[in-house]
Amino acid sequence: MLMRTNQMAANTSVAGSDKARPAVQLDGVTKRFGDSIALHEAWLKIGSSEFMTLLGPSGCGKTTLLNLVAGFLEADGGEIFIEGALVTETPPHMREIGIVFQNYALFPHMSVAKNVAYGLKTRGVDKKEMARRVDDALALVKLTGFSDRKPRQLSGGQQQRVALARALVIKPKVLLLDEPFSALDKNLRGSMQVELKQIQRELGVTTIFVTHDQGEALSMSDRIAVMSAGRIRQIAAPDDIYRRPADRFVASFVGDANVLNGRLVERSGDAAVVSIGDVRASVPAASIAEVSIGGSVDVFVRPEHLSVTSRGASGSLPGTVTTQVFQGGHVDLYIDAPGSARDHILLRSPGIAALSSCPVGAEIGLSIGSDDIVAFPPGEAP
């Protein structure tokens, strides 16, 4: 069932690209390590110039998938195509890919220029053109004048730029990024993300980006493939992933989500109505197709879609504030609402008004914004 949805998602036309031939295509690619399955029948089509992110917790199979595309691992089943050519059995050095590793892997015994020139040398590019292309690549990443430095003389951010220049100078068919920001401190990370995205758009290079950071994924990607336990759970644009998660895992991994106890009231076409206590909400019907009318469902509501009203107001749930956390631009309220939810409910109140209006112990009402609420059959783990 799950596999079929993946396949359907993979085969729907790629957003922002009307080219018939995908830049990268995985047809049911499987990878095992001994008895454990690291990647289970992955189906994926990545359009030309698309920025595709593989998002998931560690051990979900995203790095395995990246290594399979790069050729560092051998698939146990399925086929991989790059620009329409079958590459499943092509060794990495013939695949024309560019990679930026988590630790950058700049050759420590070579200068910046030699690092960048390495891929051109293997291609037998003549000296003059090599020098020109190395200069261009260094200019692209704003490192003109750093040619003769050794990698150890560069800061983390500069090392990453060199790694990017080295990967891009060979005009790769695909650019692979393996958690490239995780070694940078938070401020630098933000500016590097913006810069990388600019360069990627400018060059129009097809990019596969691996990360476990949902913020990075949501802000940079054209589309995201959310992965868990060796399977692709959902492939969609960032806002779709956030607003219409395909399953419990995606709903709880991407962004914060409150799980409320609900009941299916009625179903009409694509939509369904669920009730949480006295509150009613409209949700997509597809994800709870197996639940019968009157059966219980888990309703996933984002913290920012909840708001505080007075206790007893119509269409609200009763709750008690247990903790306030001041976050600068907003206030997080943790609310105890027995009967409506198993755990504390997180409510994100914009501004700072909630600091004084909702003190700890305040008995309040919770109202639910009507948009972007999803429900799934009840279950323990995501």
């Binding site: 050729g71 051998e74 059995e89 092509t90 060794p91």
Partner: protein, 271 residues
């Protein structure tokens, strides 16, 4: 992965090369093992008839038995003394700056480079000048000098890997330096100390060149006794002894490998 003919050729020539080198390493051991069962007193290859008598001779030859016990005595004393002296000093150079620190360290590590015959000759001349007899203590001293660098190094590496915050935590809980040493530092260093001792013991038991200079007939260790034997006799007794040696060593190493992870001790595990 589909392999081009070139890649396949590379792969197989690599395998054949490794196999050939392994054969080179194994060959003398195999040849010795076969010779040890040769019945005749003169070594010919291949043996015409078979016998175990050289094994009996290896066990009954008095110089070997004496050499074994001398060697064991020297080994246990030398590696234990080196362990105490060397690890205490490694602790001091790891933690403190003090006068002559680098000079002392340099002197004590120098036996790694000084040829063993120079050490043997020096200890022998020093003993004769100070009228110290050529007893076991002299042999033990020479061995302590030679194995000390190995113990120092293994303790130093363990200290590098020790999280100093554990000692700070113990200190904040009111432990005195002495108590910290015995309840935190030493227990955490035990694997390093143990492997340092083992390494020192094996080297000491096998040390030959310097021992030849400093030992007398009464204090000769097993390698010296074996050397003297091979100069006098050509029969396969030594082959039999070598087989015992190889089997015991390989068994000990296999055990050490499965319990301790030889790769980790020798620092050759991939990262």
């Amino acid at each position: 992965m589909k392999r081009s003919p070139g890649a396949l050729l590379l792969r197989w020539s690599g395998r054949i090369l490794v196999a050939a080198v392994l054969l080179f390493v194994l060959l003398p051991g195999i040849v010795v093992a076969i010779s040890a069962f040769n019945d005749r007193a003169i070594l010919v290859f291949p043996p015409q008839s078979w016998s175990l008598r050289w094994f009996w001779r290896a066990f009954s030859y008095p110089d070997f038995a004496k050499g074994f016990w001398n060697g064991l005595t020297v080994t246990v004393w030398a590696s234990s003394i080196a362990l105490v002296v060397g690890s205490a000093f490694a602790f001091a150079i790891h933690r403190y700056k003090f006068a002559l620190r680098n000079l002392l360290e340099g002197i004590l590590l120098s036996p790694l480079i000084i040829p063993h015959y120079t050490i043997g000759l020096g200890v022998l001349i020093l003993a004769s000048q100070t009228n110290v007899g050529r007893g076991l203590p002299l042999v033990i001293f020479a061995h302590v000098v030679m194995v000390l660098p190995f113990v120092m190094r293994s303790t130093y590496i363990s200290l590098e890997n020790l999280d100093i915050r554990l000692e700070l935590a113990a200190s904040s809980l009111g432990a005195t330096p002495l108590r910290i040493l015995f309840t935190v530092t030493i227990p955490l260093l035990i694997p390093g100390l143990l492997s340092g001792w083992l390494f020192a013991a094996i080297l000491s038991f096998n040390e030959f060149t310097a021992t030849l200079f400093v030992s007398s007939h009464a204090t000769q260790t097993l390698p010296v006794a074996m050397y003297n034997y091979v100069r006098e006799f050509a029969d396969p007794t030594l082959a039999a002894l070598s087989v015992i040696y190889i089997v015991v060593t390989a068994t000990l190493l296999t055990i050490a490998n499965s319990f301790l992870g030889l790769g980790k001790i020798l620092n050759v595990d991939a990262h």
